[in-house]
């Protein structure tokens, strides 16, 4: 390979230079079969970057105080210099929007392009979760629709009313996701078109459901008095919903008795956006690891070809090393496992296992040891999420390098126990434990809608199935208050431990003091 002259030197950049680098990165990415959406690379100022950060990277969003709070904390951290802004910000859309900050040096711009425009972008396009759960081509339109709709509602019903509703929805947004079935794609055009239609339809549906209930308090009493004597079996019609519902917001949208059509639409908007972010929450390690692996690989290829000079590659290495550094657990700066570090280590190690496997690797990964590394990497990127990726690919070497260890903290035991360390007996257990640690279903309490008393007092009952006796945090009360605002009637929550109700919560709080 003949070494070429560097495209540019120094730390200044201009659009021609960026375009040239981008072309070269694209050429190399193509060699590695990175399939991407078209890139829309936007150069912005640091203030705009803070704006973008505050709106979770969405280029358009509806207004809400929580984004203001986010903005203030980002601004504060940035001003104090605690946070280097915007290593990268990239949006899962088609075309894929990536932001470059004008203050960045040339090296940073090139790095971000490699990382975001080819790393993340190809992950968005290739990973099965993103393919199944998000619709990159329509997200921007949908955001525009959502913003407009929320603004209209604010105008019509007042900012306070909309804010209250959004607060309530946000509290439940992690439970606004269908975990097991593919959602219908979102399309702004259709949304707008069908929205009026849907309002009517939804309301009609809800009305049918609730029509069986006498509206006046008198009638209600009459029925409950009749309980013992129910000749028609009206009260034995089984639970509603017949199956527990995991998607709380969906259930609210379709069944909450008192919500106005516009309120249902806003619940739907929050739900749809939660759905859109759902894959990102489950692929943090993979996504960052993949992007980091590729910026590392692409930058080195460019250096090998002489497209970047020593100065740039050294600056790059310094920055890259900082990003993939893992603080040990006892460091004052420790902030959990760094997804960049873990992801990068794993992808790099997969390549190593393919290219130069040791005996250990052959024993642990008979399928991939010695296989084509690029095929294997693509396979891993496409078909896993963090949980299963770790379960499948975390190698003893990575465990040793990171010196992982597993501590068991059981409240029935006075002491903590070290259950596994990076040794022969610990590898499998550590892999299992780390995989579980990344499972959303374990990270978040398992709460489902169990019953809506459509024939009685209209109360809503949720069930929390405890995972290894872990109780709910105190935040359960404020969240239930929000849920109560949406549902309009008493909301109950039962915490189940070993098939028995271990604890009950209720909102509004029962009059007789205690929380039982």
């Amino acid at each position: 390979m003949t070494r070429q002259t560097p495209i540019a030197t120094g730390s200044d950049w201009n659009f021609e230079v960026l375009a040239e680098f981008e072309r070269e990165i694209a050429r190399l990415a193509d060699e590695y079969r990175l399939d991407t959406y078209p890139n829309q690379i936007e150069v912005i100022t640091s203030e705009q970057m803070m704006d973008a950060y505050a709106s979770v990277g969405m280029p358009v969003g509806y207004h809400h105080w929580s984004f203001g709070k986010q903005f203030l904390s980002v601004e504060q951290a940035y001003r104090r210099g605690q946070m280097g802004l915007a290593y990268e910000l990239v949006i899962n859309s088609d075309p894929c929007i990536a932001y470059l900050m004008e203050e960045n040096t040339l090296m940073m711009q090139v790095l971000v392009m490699a990382h975001a425009c080819y790393g993340h972008n190809s992950f968005f396009k290739g990973n099965y979760l993103f393919r199944a759960w998000t619709d990159a081509s329509s997200i921007i339109d949908y955001l525009v629709f959502a913003r407009k709709y929320v603004a209209e509602c604010e105008e019509r019903y007042g900012v306070a009313a909309v804010e209250q509703l959004l607060d309530a929805c946000h509290a439940l947004q992690n439970y606004g996701v269908d975990r097991y079935k593919r959602p219908s794609p979102i399309s702004a055009e259709e949304e707008a078109l069908r929205q009026a239609e849907r309002e009517e339809y939804l309301q009609a549906q809800v009305n049918t459901l609730w029509r069986t209930i006498p509206l006046s308090g008198q009638g209600l009493e009459a029925i409950t008095e009749d309980d013992g004597d129910d000749p028609l079996g009206l009260h034995q019609a089984g639970r509603y919903p017949p199956e527990p519902q995991e998607n709380l917001l969906y259930f609210i949208e379709k069944n909450a008795p008192l919500l106005a059509p516009w309120q249902r639409e806003i619940v739907r908007i929050v739900r749809k956006l939660a759905q859109y972010f759902y894959p990102q929450r489950q692929t943090q390690v993979m996504n960052e690891g993949w992007a980091t692996f590729w910026h590392y690989t692409l930058m080195h290829r460019m250096f090998d070809e002489g497209l970047v000079d020593e100065g740039l590659i050294l600056e790059f290495l310094q920055s890259h090393t900082a990003v993939v550094h893992q603080q040990p657990f006892d460091s004052p700066y420790y902030n959990g496992i760094n997804p960049y570090a873990l992801g990068f280590a794993m992808f790099t190690d997969i390549r190593r296992i393919c290219e130069s496997p040791t005996d250990e690797d052959r024993e642990w990964f008979p399928d991939i040891a010695g296989s084509n590394w690029l095929d294997t990497l693509h396979f891993a990127m496409r078909n896993f999420k963090d949980e299963s990726f770790i379960q499948q690919f975390l190698s003893p070497k990575v465990i040793r390098d990171l010196k992982l260890f597993n501590v068991i903290d059981d409240d029935q035991d006075e002491m903590l126990t070290v259950a596994a360390i990076h040794d022969e007996r610990g590898y499998r257990r550590l892999r299992e434990a780390l995989s579980v640690q990344y499972a959303l279903s374990v990270r978040e309490p398992n709460i489902q809608i169990y019953a809506a008393d459509i024939r009685g007092d209209r109360s809503l009952t949720l069930r929390h199935v405890q995972d290894r006796r872990r109780p709910l945090a105190k935040s359960v009360y404020p969240v239930m208050r929000h849920l109560h605002q949406l549902w309009g009637f008493t909301v109950r929550l039962e915490s189940i431990e070993d098939d028995e109700v271990a604890r009950r919560y209720q909102w509004p709080l029962p009059n007789e003091g205690g929380q039982e």
């Binding site: 929580s66 903005f71 904390s73 070290v418 945090a473 359960v476």
Partner: protein, 427 residues
């Protein structure tokens, strides 16, 4: 496949609305924080914003979460000394061993941090400082002052300077003129062409050569004329017209009056200074232009500059009325009450020459108070009031809406007293 967009010119502050929503929502919290800040820091740096913190639990967005307890398994990196089966004491403070549940960066930024801190800009800060306060008798004195004119756009004129050419209008005029001027020529041209064509169609025997000659000459002449219609003419030029519009003036003078006699110590003066500064900032927000006049006095009054006002030392007795008389004179000389909103802020330790206090009341009641928008008097003393306070109380009774007086004992009182003096009167 890829393209670059330069968005730097786009509007920033996309989050301004969200930021404002946040500030509105936590108004009471922020106000409390601001009030503490005002009391804490020297008022000289009122010009900056302020860092504000709110307890995190008050602004958290609740979600269902796992609480402490139960059986949990935590994988952490960086093992050095542990071996399998080791038993460790549970770190106090709960969960200190690492909440390594792989928590992402996005949410949960509150955990473990008790305060949510952020900065207010100077304007936001002052908004909170003066929130709920009102300037009494704020009048927009209307006057046609020749100096107070603002050029405003008013239509289009035919003459002006080149820098104000209205290109669109000029081109439109030019086009209209060209159409209008060319139309008759075109018509004549067409007629001549038709005539010529008709003439040429005739049998050669019947042709009239001189007529043809004539027509050709005519056509040539007309074509020249057509060409000579100028594309643009000075006649077409239009200019944006600006006229000077007198604007209502909205200005105030603030007289700072302070006793600098021997009994006023530097700490007294500092307290007074803070009070004056607060008032100045407040006036500045309400008026486009605020002038300051510093009058200090012991036995005699003197108009001085700011530096001298606050820092030069004097000794001697105290005659308050000398200052009030001087203020009255300055008003008559330079600030006609018809044009200016007049405010007087006086600070003193309450000492006065025995017989002078009644004179003060007379000067105030008879002359000054008629002209002033508001008179504030702060007495900086921990001691009992003297004659001056009592006389002033009589003035307050006469002008209850325009005269206010309060006592300040220590710096912490300044802001509360200030708020009390300018509290918005509920209608």
């Amino acid at each position: 496949m890829s393209y670059f967009i330069d968005r730097r010119a786009n509007a920033k502050h996309k989050s301004a609305v969200n930021r404002q929503r946040f500030l509105d929502r936590y108004r009471t919290h922020i106000k409390r924080s601001v009030e503490e800040a005002v009391n804490r820091r020297s008022i000289t740096d009122m010009q900056h914003g302020e860092k504000v913190s709110i307890p995190t639990r008050d602004i958290s967005e609740p979600v269902f979460q796992h609480g402490q307890g139960g059986h949990r398994s935590i994988v952490s990196p960086g093992n050095r000394e542990f071996d399998e089966g080791d038993r460790l004491r549970r770190p106090s403070g709960g969960g200190g061993g690492g909440d390594g549940s792989g928590e992402g960066g996005a949410s949960n930024q509150g955990e473990g941090m008790d305060e949510f801190a952020f900065s207010l800009t100077r304007d936001e800060f002052l908004d909170f400082v003066f929130d709920g306060l009102e300037l009494p008798h704020l009048e927009r004195k209307q006057l046609m002052d020749l100096e107070e004119v603002k050029p405003v756009r008013s239509g289009i004129t035919r003459d002006g300077v080149p820098s104000r050419i209205n290109i669109v209008r000029s081109m439109r005029e030019a086009q209209a003129r060209r159409i209008a001027m060319r139309a008759p020529i075109r018509r004549a041209l067409r007629e001549s062409m038709d005539a010529l064509a008709e003439e040429e169609r005739k049998d050669p025997v019947l042709r009239n050569p001189s007529r043809i000659q004539e027509l050709k000459a005519e056509i040539e002449r007309l074509e020249k004329r057509l060409e000579s219609v100028p594309f643009i003419d000075t006649y077409d030029l239009r200019y944006n017209n600006l006229v000077n519009q007198p604007t209502p003036s909205n200005k105030a003078v603030m007289f700072c009056v302070m006793d600098v006699s021997g009994s006023m110590t530097q700490s007294h003066k500092d307290i007074a200074k803070r009070f004056f500064l607060l008032l100045y900032l407040f006036l500045e927000r309400n008026y486009e232009k605020v002038e300051l006049v510093f009058v200090r006095h012991h036995t005699a009054a003197k108009e001085v500059d700011e530096e001298e006002f606050f820092y030069s030392r004097e000794t001697g007795g105290t005659i308050v009325s000398s200052a009030l008389t001087l203020v009255d004179e300055i008003i008559s000389d330079r600030y006609p009450p018809a044009d200016w909103n007049l405010y007087v802020a006086q600070a003193s330790d309450g000492d006065n020459w025995d017989d002078d206090s009644t004179t003060c009341r007379e000067v105030l009641s008879k002359s000054l108070m008629q002209k002033l928008a508001y008179f504030t008097y702060v007495e900086i003393t921990p001691h009992a009031h003297q004659a001056l306070w009592e006389e002033y109380e009589a003035v307050e009774a006469d002008f209850p809406s325009r005269f206010a007086m309060r006592q300040i004992v220590e710096p912490g009182d300044i802001y509360p007293v200030f708020r009390e003096l300018f509290r918005k009167v509920e209608a």
